[in-house]
């Protein structure tokens, strides 16, 4: 009985009690959602353009952040360190294409998925050999301060992340929809062999996509690294991005953002108001349940490409 009350009555009273706080919860949710989206975006790019579910995205985030911090620790100025890391991510993309992808043309999704798991191990290993496993503080000058506005608490880092994410998503969405290369990328995701047959150079396409995904990982690494310190745990952020990815649709760039916002708000509101009734820490599975609920109505995710069923 008490449980029922905790679930069906108290949370609503709580919300009604302090609407400003409710608004704050929603805004925090939106801002954490954006942080998830940053990671989800990397997944979307690669999936959309090659049909590969890149398990190593989390490792790429770590790898980029570790390299950046490592370089900065060696005394390299911030801007140059960022450029060098970006360059390294491009080199990495070339290596990945050379050593891995080109040998796996036309294989099923799950096989490519597995290969990226192999990649994940390699990146984790190399990154840590090169830069160690310690926690490192990352500060490239993005302000990380809180301020109160209209009774609500904001953090400048979160706001910057939101801005950066908005810019990235707009650019990428336009790129995919309106350029010839974007079209070619989508073609590759549909059918490797047919893409080859019309002369789409899979190799350079893959290098481009993985490079862009690497750069997105770098951005995610910078923001998350500033937030939680650069360390191995960054890899696990990928798990937070999964429900976002699924809810938004594997193939949709805007989906990654909208999905992030929905998940962010959903899990925060639920955790803050309903968490206590269930004993807390429910946001983890709730994100997945929420994604699942959306999928029941749209099996391809909110903005994903329709799954074609024909005979």
């Amino acid at each position: 009985m008490e449980f029922m009350e905790n679930v069906f009555v108290l949370p609503f009273l709580d919300i009604a009690d302090s609407p400003v706080f409710f608004l704050e919860v929603i805004i925090s949710g939106l801002l954490s959602g954006v942080m998830y989206s940053l990671v989800a975006l990397g997944f979307v790019l690669i999936f959309k353009a090659s049909g590969v579910f890149n398990f190593a995205q989390g490792a790429m985030v770590l790898f980029a952040a570790l390299t950046l911090v490592g370089l900065m620790e060696q005394g390299v100025p911030v801007v140059i360190a960022i450029l060098l890391t970006a360059l390294l991510m491009v080199v990495l993309a070339i290596l990945i294409e050379h050593m891995m992808l080109r040998h796996l043309v036309n294989q099923e999704g799950i096989i490519l998925f597995m290969a990226t798991i192999g990649l994940n191990f390699i990146l984790e290993g190399v990154g840590q050999i090169a830069w160690g496993s310690d926690v490192k503080k990352l500060d490239i000058g993005i302000p990380d301060q809180s301020f109160e506005y209209a009774g609500m608490l904001f953090n400048t880092l979160d706001l910057s992340a939101a801005l950066i994410a908005a810019i990235m998503v707009t650019t990428l969405a336009l790129f995919f929809q309106y350029t010839g290369t974007g079209r070619a990328l989508r073609a590759v995701a549909d059918d490797h062999q047919a893409a080859l047959s019309v002369g789409i150079p899979l190799k350079s396409i893959w290098i481009i996509v993985w490079s862009v995904a690497g750069l997105v990982a770098l951005v995610a690494g910078i923001l998350w690294g500033t937030k939680v310190g650069v360390q191995f745990s960054l890899v696990l952020i990928a798990l937070k991005a999964l429900p976002v990815l699924i809810l938004g649709g594997f193939t949709s760039v805007p989906g990654a953002i909208i999905g992030g916002l929905i998940i962010g708000v959903g899990e925060k509101v639920v955790e803050v108001y309903w968490g206590p009734a269930f004993g807390g820490a429910i946001e983890g599975w709730f994100a997945y349940m929420l994604a699942l609920a959306f999928l029941m109505f749209r099996p391809q995710g909110l903005f994903g490409e329709k799954i074609i069923e024909r005979v």
Binding site: S18, S133, D134, L153, V228, F232, S233, L236, K268, G280
Partner: protein, 414 residues
């Protein structure tokens, strides 16, 4: 067994220098390694018996822990320091059968403090439950006495795992006794994202926060506390939530953060100086790079000392030679860390004296509280003894339940 020369005492080391908990695992592993090395270099071993040791990487993963355990067991291990709650749970039942004692110093299964049921497991000098009670006492000293606790609001932010939940029963029991208000906030593994938890803190505005965190959760919590504007000197971590790895990423904001402690930090202790001298040849920079003097490093030194002293104690009874697991167990059970001994070991004031007994594998040792100054940690309290009259009965009850479930007949400690 054959690999160990007759006059060597083998110490297995389950370490995690890689993976998500590496930032915590590295200083721990270094501390053990350096203490053992120093003992050989300075004293030529334990009463002439050389100390040998080998690391096995567990990545803080229980399943890898099994492999390491079996491998090191085969090499003649006589005492395990698992350094992971999961691995400890898993080794406790084995210890009895394999006749290799476990020392889980300040972690693992609290009920193991009851030596009648957990004959082979030791968790001295103190446990999670005792620690929680010292925290309550510490708050009381700050608020002006135990009677002032009534109406104080304490939040417990904990890692949502068996480890994180350990303090809950004690905090509950004491809340009933002293009348403070307790809010429990769980943070899901691994804890990089804690907005929801801190929104709750903002809403409920507790007076004190106690945290049972681990790994990245600590760093994020400290940062979130800073940005929420929570007064840092009212934010207290347990002894796994108070190391340099936790405070450094938060930068200046972390000033004033507190945590429980079992021992002193820094390099100003004779024992640490000995390590710098014998292991690093006096090279301070190299020592600093190896995290000498950091909280978790010093913890491992303390832990390493316990193992060595247990062997020494056993040698007192069985002779100066290589000890077996059973003999080491005896040594642990009869370990008497007196002030005089601490002084001799170069650890006077580093930690508090205690004496293990057949019945009490914990000793209810005192806990101190330390504060982050931006460069290091500083004690800000006296050594506070646990509220044993509340904790001990809980321990005995839990141990009895375990004994019943696992068909163990408690030994008679006379």
């Amino acid at each position: 067994e054959s690999k160990i020369a007759a006059a060597e005492q083998f110490f297995p080391m389950l370490v995690y220098r890689t993976g998500p908990y590496a930032p915590n695992g590295i200083p721990v592993a270094n501390g053990f390694r350096d203490y053992y090395t120093m003992i050989n270099a300075r004293d030529g071993g334990i009463n002439g018996v050389k100390v040998s040791f080998e690391e096995c990487e567990t990545k803080y993963n229980t399943k890898l822990g099994v492999e390491c355990y079996e491998k090191l067991k085969g090499k003649g291990a006589t005492l395990f320091n698992p350094y992971s709650t999961g691995i400890t749970y898993q080794l406790i039942p084995k210890a009895r059968v394999d006749k290799i004692p476990i020392l889980s110093m300040g972690y693992g299964r609290t009920a193991a403090a009851d030596g009648r049921v957990f004959q082979w497991t030791f968790n001295f000098p103190t446990t999670y439950w005792s620690q929680a009670s010292t925290f309550v006492k510490y708050v009381a000293t700050q608020e002006g006495g135990l009677d002032k606790l009534n109406g104080v609001h304490i939040a417990h932010i904990y890692h949502n795992s068996a480890y994180g939940k350990e303090a809950n029963p004690t905090l509950d029991a004491l809340s009933e006794k002293y009348g403070y208000k307790l809010t429990k906030i769980a943070v899901d593994h691994p804890g990089q994202e804690q907005k929801a938890a801190w929104l709750q803190v903002r809403r409920k505005r507790p007076d004190w926060i106690f945290m049972s965190g681990w790994g990245v959760m600590n760093q994020v919590a400290i940062k979130e506390a800073v940005s929420t504007g929570f007064p840092m000197d009212h934010f207290v971590g347990n002894w796994w939530s108070g190391s340099e790895a936790d405070t450094v990423p938060a930068g200046d904001g972390a000033f004033g953060y507190k945590s429980a402690a079992l021992h002193g930090t820094g390099t100003d202790w004779p024992v640490i100086q000995d390590i710098i001298k014998h292991v690093y040849g006096g090279d301070m920079a190299l020592a600093a790079e190896n995290k000498v003097g950091e909280v978790l490093y010093n913890r491992a030194v303390l832990n390493g000392m316990f193992g060595i002293e247990a062997v020494r104690t056993a040698q007192g009874k069985y002779g100066n030679k290589q000890m077996t697991g059973e003999q080491v167990r005896w040594g642990l059970e009869n370990l008497d860390i007196s002030n005089a001994k601490l002084k001799a070991l170069g650890m006077e004031g580093f930690t508090q004296p205690f004496k293990v007994s057949c019945k009490d594998h914990e000793t209810g040792g005192p806990v101190a509280f330390q504060q982050w100054t931006g460069k290091g940690w500083q004690f800000v309290s006296d050594w506070i003894t646990p509220i044993t009259e509340v904790v001990r009965p809980m321990v005995e009850e839990a141990a009895a339940a375990y004994a019943k479930e696992n068909k163990i007949t408690p030994v008679n400690c006379g």
